[in-house]
Amino acid sequence: MRHIISILIENEAGALSRVSGLFSARGYNIETLTVAPTEDASLSRMTIVTTGSEEVLEQITKQLNKLVDVVKVVDLSEAAHIERELMLIKVRATGKDREEMKRMADIFRGRIIDVTDSTYVVELTGSSSKLDSFISAIDTGLILETVRTGVSGIGRGDRILKV
């Protein structure tokens, strides 16, 4: 099962390595990991997408909570939440592909943010599966480069992760 884990952690040097080290040492998966300071600069918020059974997820949450620098941990996917990921994708855009690429970007509500004679850079935001769909919808031979941020997530409504 895929889970999205949100972590509030003291914004100290080495905080990221404590978390990533825990995952590798205990053999847990990391599909994506994003981290940045929150509105309170002394705290960082991390979002990790991982997979595992209920038992493994229970251990992951417990082990994360055990890290001295970790303030709070929540499994966002346990309840209503929103997930977003940003992708920048550079594609070949020449001849008839140029118009087609523009059309696909529009359909997926992407924006073309860089244009040359032969390339576009498309900016696309959405759930990871939406970004995956875009990649499979276009001719893979035209993809020059992709970069994705990994998932950021937040609970819906009154679900708030704060100190």
Partner: protein
């Protein structure tokens, strides 16, 4: 008044009432050593290898309820300390290790004796710090001691760059610690405790399974009260020996890979298990799939939530400090004595298992049986010694044949299984308990892993008694090779052993060699009585082929025991 970082380090240690620390100097910690020289509140014990400094601090902590402290230099000083740190981590021992670091501007430039200490130790510490500003030093030291001793205890490393120890600032030692990210639970959930008590009252085949957490939290009195009130059988883990007296009739002995028949069978067939500060590890329950086949209810008291339902599914988890939780349980149980008739049939079954007398062995006239040596050691020390063991067969024999009546008298590396801990543990234990009789039970393999500490023991006049069970083999390896590798003794025979008597003498100690069974007792008397105030190294030439039984092979279930009589 302004102070240098080095002065602050020492002042912090004094504020923490540190009396003894173990260390080894070097370039990065010279300022700290200079400050140590100028005071006499903290005694510094110069070891011969940094690994031993950490083990000694660890042994100091295990045998007392204090935090052990070690001081090492940067680079190799820190890497040598890693085995000691990992050993303490696996057994949840509260120690603070101070390591020197190259000056802040040199960090990351591959400076002389530079190593990323925080990075290297991260997976084997409870927490670690790199001090980047002298103004954070006092606060960091306070946090280090607080983290080491609270919650599930563990080692904390404080890495201090050399320039920080020279910088100055105002010193004030914080009286309290506030950490929004670290607030260990102490009190157990009352609803859960009630559920547990209810479950215990219905148990027909109960067992109380006590681990190292009961020792570390000083819960022995409460464990005893609870066990006696309930009248249930008790088993201790290797780390829990002494938490419930080994001589109590309710004690079934140690369980696990080399546990007794009665302890392992009772654990397997119990309908209610009350786990107290124990973690169902692989050496204790064997194969978890096999263990899970029997229907039962498990109550688990532990301060670390991640220990609960990690390998074995728990029905009533109680997160909290063991003595606090047991106190609540005892209150709830007051006035209601469980009906002994309810467990009578269970006790009858246990007595049948007990009747197998699985620890029996034959001591003939020719070869010294290692078990016999431990039995005699028990008699001569009246069961009151602090016994520090190394790792291997001798460790298991000591655990099986020396029933500990009190906690903190049995020191060994249970989790990491670090050979070489015995002698430095004994040093630490002797400093923490100056009047106690301290014995090292070791083998000729393990003792050589920290043999250099015979020199430290001489410098500080430590009257340790080293009981070396010398079978000229790495015995536990040889046992596995005999049983599972058709006796191909690959790499387990040690040729060219030193003459340990001469070796002991070379370090200025007393050495005795014992080759015959009838000489075992006189040699022990000589060591513990005639040479009471000296370190004595007794090299017992034991039966080379002796094996540890009972044994549950790795990956097998608890009931699948190999007994001495089977062979």
């Amino acid at each position: 008044m302004k102070m240098t970082g080095a002065e602050i380090v020492i002042r912090c240690l004094q504020e923490e009432k540190v009396e003894v620390m173990f260390g080894y100097p070097g370039g990065s910690v010279l300022h700290i050593y200079d400050e140590l020289f100028k005071q006499d509140q903290i005694k510094h014990i110069l070891v011969r290898h940094e690994q031993a400094a950490v083990h000694a601090a660890d042994g100091y902590a295990r045998s007392s309820d204090k935090v052990g402290v070690a001081l090492v230099t940067s680079g190799p000083g820190a890497t040598n300390a890693v085995t000691g740190i990992a050993t303490a981590y696996m057994d949840s021992i509260p120690i603070v290790v101070l390591s020197g670091q190259v000056p802040t501007p040199a960090i990351g430039l591959d400076a002389f004796q530079e190593v990323d200490t925080v990075g290297i130790t991260r997976p084997c510490v409870k927490h670690n710090f790199l001090v980047k500003d002298v103004r954070e030093l006092a606060d960091t030291m306070k946090k280090a001691f607080h983290i080491a001793r609270t919650g599930r205890p563990g080692p904390v490393v404080v890495d201090i760059p050399k320039d920080i120890t020279a910088h100055t600032c105002e010193f004030e030692y914080p009286q309290t610690v506030q950490m929004r990210s670290y607030n260990p639970v102490v009190k157990g959930h009352l609803g859960q405790i009630k559920k547990a008590v209810q479950l215990l009252s219905t148990a027909k085949r109960p067992i109380i399974y006590v681990g190292g957490g009961a020792v570390l939290s000083d819960a022995s009195d409460k464990v005893r009260k609870l066990a006696h009130h309930l009248g249930f059988p008790v088993t201790n883990t290797l780390m829990g020996l002494g938490a419930f007296s080994g001589t109590d009739p309710q004690n079934l002995g140690m369980l696990g890979m080399h546990g007794t028949v009665e302890a392992n069978m009772a654990m397997h067939y119990a309908d209610v298990i009350l786990a107290i500060g124990a973690r169902f590890d692989d050496r204790v329950v064997g194969n978890p799939e096999n263990f899970a086949e029997e229907p039962r209810k498990v109550i688990h008291i532990d301060i670390d939530p991640s220990s609960i339902s990690k390998r074995v599914k728990v029905d009533v988890p109680i997160v909290g400090n063991v003595p606090d939780v047991l106190e609540e349980m005892l209150k709830l149980l007051e006035g209601s004595k469980p009906d002994a008739a309810q467990t009578a049939a269970w006790w009858k079954r246990i007595e049948e298992w007990r009747a197998k007398q699985c620890l029996n062995f034959k001591q003939g006239d020719d070869l010294i049986m290692p078990q016999y040596v431990v039995q005699k050691l028990y008699e001569i020390t009246k069961g009151e010694a602090i016994v520090c063991s190394d790792v291997g067969q001798h460790q298991m024999w000591a655990a099986q044949y020396y029933p500990f009546a009190e906690p903190r008298r049995w020191l060994n590396s249970g989790g990491l299984g670090t050979m070489g801990v015995g002698l430095p543990y004994a040093m630490g234990a002797q400093f923490a308990n100056p009047d106690a009789t301290v014995a090292v039970v070791t083998g000729e393999g393990s003792i050589q892993m920290c043999i250099q500490e015979l020199s430290t023991a001489k410098q500080f006049r430590l009257p340790l008694k080293i009981i070396s069970l010398n079978n000229r083999y790495l015995g536990m390896v040889r046992q596995w090779q005999e049983m599972f590798y058709e006796s191909r003794y690959s790499g387990s025979y040690m040729d060219s052993l030193p003459d340990f008597v001469k070796l002991a003498e070379a370090y200025g100690h007393v050495g005795i060699r014992v080759e015959k069974p009838e000489d075992v007792e006189p040699a022990l008397r000589k060591a513990f009585i005639d040479h009471k105030d000296e370190l004595v190294f007794i090299d017992f030439q034991t039966n080379r082929e002796a094996n540890v039984f009972p044994m549950v092979a790795a990956g097998k279930g608890l009931t699948d025991m190999i007994l001495a009589e089977d062979l």
